[in-house]
């Protein structure tokens, strides 16, 4: 079970939360001018990375607020939570990715 750090309530168990998909999806600025491809891109297309993923969660059974979470989809490691409208913790994410690449290297002598 994930222990998710709500920006307001602190760490709580996963059943109190609902997942809201990828974060920072921008709605087309001029909907009337958008093509079908642009709409499809906005509505359906999502990245599916193995590694750090920025996603939305809502603390449904707690304070009922939406927030963003940076989570590693391969290890389930939670890098940090940040409120709606705030910028993702890019430096922390970059550091984590750096250490992840180092640890993925094969030890000496292993082919």
């Amino acid at each position: 079970m994930l222990l998710i750090p709500c920006p307001w309530c602190g760490e709580r168990d996963e059943p109190e939360f609902h997942h809201g998909g990828e974060a920072h999806i921008k709605r087309p600025l001029e909907p009337d001018q958008s093509t079908d491809e642009e709409w499809a891109e906005y509505i359906f297309m999502r990245t599916n990375p193995k590694g750090v993923f920025l996603e939305r969660w809502v603390h449904q059974s707690g304070c009922r607020r939406w927030f963003n979470l940076a989570r590693n989809t391969a290890t389930n490691e939670i890098i940090g939570a940040y409120k709606m409208g705030e910028k993702p913790p890019i430096s922390t994410i970059a550091n984590k990715q750096k250490t992840a690449t180092v640890s993925n290297k094969k030890p000496k002598g292993v082919k």
Binding site: W8, G10, D13, S61, C63, R64, R65
Partner: protein
Amino acid sequence: MVDAYLRQSPLAHLHLAARATTSNALPDAGVVLAEIPYLSQFVLRGNADNQAFTAGIKKALKLPLPISPCTSSVDKTGHSHILWMGPDEWLIVGPSDDQAHINSSISTAFRNQHFSLVNVSESRTLIRLSGTQAQNLLEKGCSIDLHPSAFSPGSVVNTHLSHAHITLHRLNSIQQPTYDLYVHRSFAEYLWSWLEDAAREYGLDNRSK
């Protein structure tokens, strides 16, 4: 507001008051449960950063608005509370005959301001839990750290108790820990039954009035 003669507790069919024990009938009971129905409950929404709003609430209700997450405030009588529900949301709780007073005092104070006050008195009932084993009982179905160092008197959280959504409030009682469990009316019977069952090993005293 529901007419008084139409009001019915969601646990009315269990006849808790008729089944209640008299005081000191069960001195060894580790858990004391009581339903406290018909409380006045209002959901207040507003901007906590707005000084006029927070000061106005304090003046209208004689109670400070709890701004820090998971905290509450209580008046001198100990019967009225404001519980933190979210960064811009609070639950105002008072005695059953307080509905009109809460409604009018806030509405008058903020006639031209942006806020929201909704009467939700019928949505939840209150189960009060105390006794020496109260914390052990809650820990059977709740993942919150209830140790006094983490969940001090006055703390309030929205969480799950045995899968049912509750608002859990630890009262400022000097004696033994007392917890108020606000439960939505459709879950009230389930939660009461679960509490009765979970309390069996500690001995249960029902003090509903």
